[in-house]
Symmetry: C2
Subunit: 268 residues, 2 copies
DNA sequence: GAGTGGTCTAGACCACGTT
DNA sequence: ACGTGGTCTAGACCACTCA
């Protein structure tokens, strides 16, 4: 049996709920739980529980008090308490198992590079829509592109230089099934985001994408168009984007200046 | 006013709920909603709503029916329906605004590199705990390290080669405040994860971390220890890890073989 | 069988935004 | 004033786990 709850809750419960009356505690009783008006109860309870978690009152792995006990302690209904616990679960702080109980999560931060899921974002100046079109032609999808797009038909090959405030920062080649946008070459690829264009003209709604990131260096082609020296450090980004109903709609190989962008990853 | 709901729900409602009776519809009425036993109702409702979203029945930006209407349509209580909607909200598919209504989210996938938050993970063989210690000494934190650790005291400088299955794959230098682990040099840094060690010996619980990722190339030092050629492509990873109560506990500079690992990023 | 969490209901009151 | 979503309650039944 893992650590149970030491105490500090049994000080207030059972009796009347929502009693703000000030019967001065005879002993230095721990501040039990004072409801603040104007803030959702479930939120206050979540904060209080979180505080107990990170103060070490309930160490990682420990079993927490049952819903029943917590309800009487906080003087709230089960629904309200469960809302607080559900939020802690979705934040990854506690685990619940039907029939067993509620447990404090052990930190999942692995020491190595392999780590738990997380949130990530690109750090750097915003990229302008559109860009200089170097190439836009119909081609037959090669083996690799066909595999990534899950289709063997004709595709548009679209190569563009991307800018931020007039400065070239990326070079990318997209492959898009022709069936999705029959006359893509006629569209305003210079000044519009591809996602906006495909949505507004062809009704293709992007919903998700998967990117793979590798370190790379600029070859002469990349260096010339981005105005950087050959062998300068870049990110190589391989990306497949999917429509909201799960069909692959764009496969893209991109290069992004390594001196102007970095990836930020938030682990938890 | 954005698009309202075309129809298809008004076919069943108001009248008795949970009526499976088969009064054969005079017109080809759309299959309304058949509950499957054994699956939580709120989950079935979420699936049904999701299906309507991605089928385009409710386009992005459209206002969805009110809770009241959906309750009568599905024949469930408000709590159950709200649970389904709450799940859709946390998945990022719908937005709710008190007093206004519930709206279908517009896809947030931006065409450019700058994109919405996402989940990410490292792809590659799992890293062994510990590693070969090249250096472990007390030093005074320099300006940069002190800033990252939010403290000016003495720190441990720990440089290790990381392995996977006997093969060197990464080189990292950690800086850890001495106050957190007075005799770190005496510990088993060869075969234990730093997080495990700091938790079990010093009671330091890691809770979160922020990493910055850059493309890089191996210098002679890195190349020698990782057994790769000079100028080989690597990831450079700058990482600050925090305890559960938010104090910086480790600042790390790491290099990871670019030919064996890549970052996978899932955008939504 | 007792205790746990998971689900669901049918009410209630509230703050908010629109009309 | 009305309809929206946000909050909260007090019950109920269930599946699951463990002693």
């Amino acid at each position: 049996m893992t650590a149970r709850w030491g105490g500090g809750i049994s000080s207030l419960d059972q009796t009347s709920k929502r009693t703000y009356i000030d019967s001065v505690p005879p002993s230095p009783a721990p501040q039990p739980f004072a409801k603040r008006p104007g803030v959702a109860l479930h939120h206050q309870i979540k904060e209080d529980l979180f505080h107990k978690l990170r103060s070490g009152e309930w160490p990682p792995g420990a079993e927490m008090p049952s819903e029943h006990i917590l309800c009487t302690h906080y003087g709230v209904s089960r629904g309200t308490l469960r809302r607080a616990l559900a939020d802690l679960v979705s934040d990854g702080y506690v685990e619940r198992h039907s029939g067993r109980g509620t447990f404090v999560c052990r930190p999942k931060l692995v020491s190595g590079v392999t780590s738990a899921y997380s949130r990530s974002s690109v750090v750097g100046p915003a990229v302008d829509p559109g860009g200089r079109v170097l190439l836009c032609r119909r081609v037959k999808a090669d083996r690799h592109v066909a595999a990534m797009l899950q289709s063997r038909g004709a595709v548009w090959q679209l190569e563009r230089v991307r800018f931020t405030d007039g400065q070239a920062i990326g070079l990318q080649t997209s492959f898009i099934p022709v069936v999705l946008c029959p006359d893509l070459a006629k569209q305003d690829l210079q000044s519009k985001h591809l996602v906006d264009l495909m949505r507004d003209i062809y009704g293709v709604h992007f919903g998700s994408a998967v990117e793979y990131l590798d370190p790379g260096i600029a070859d002469s082609h990349v260096a010339r168009h981005l105005g950087i020296r050959v062998n300068a450090l870049v990110f190589r980004i391989e990306r497949t984007a999917y429509t909201v109903d799960g069909r692959a709609a764009e496969y893209r190989n991109a290069v992004l200046r390594g001196d102007m962008y970095r990836y930020r990853i938030e682990l938890r």
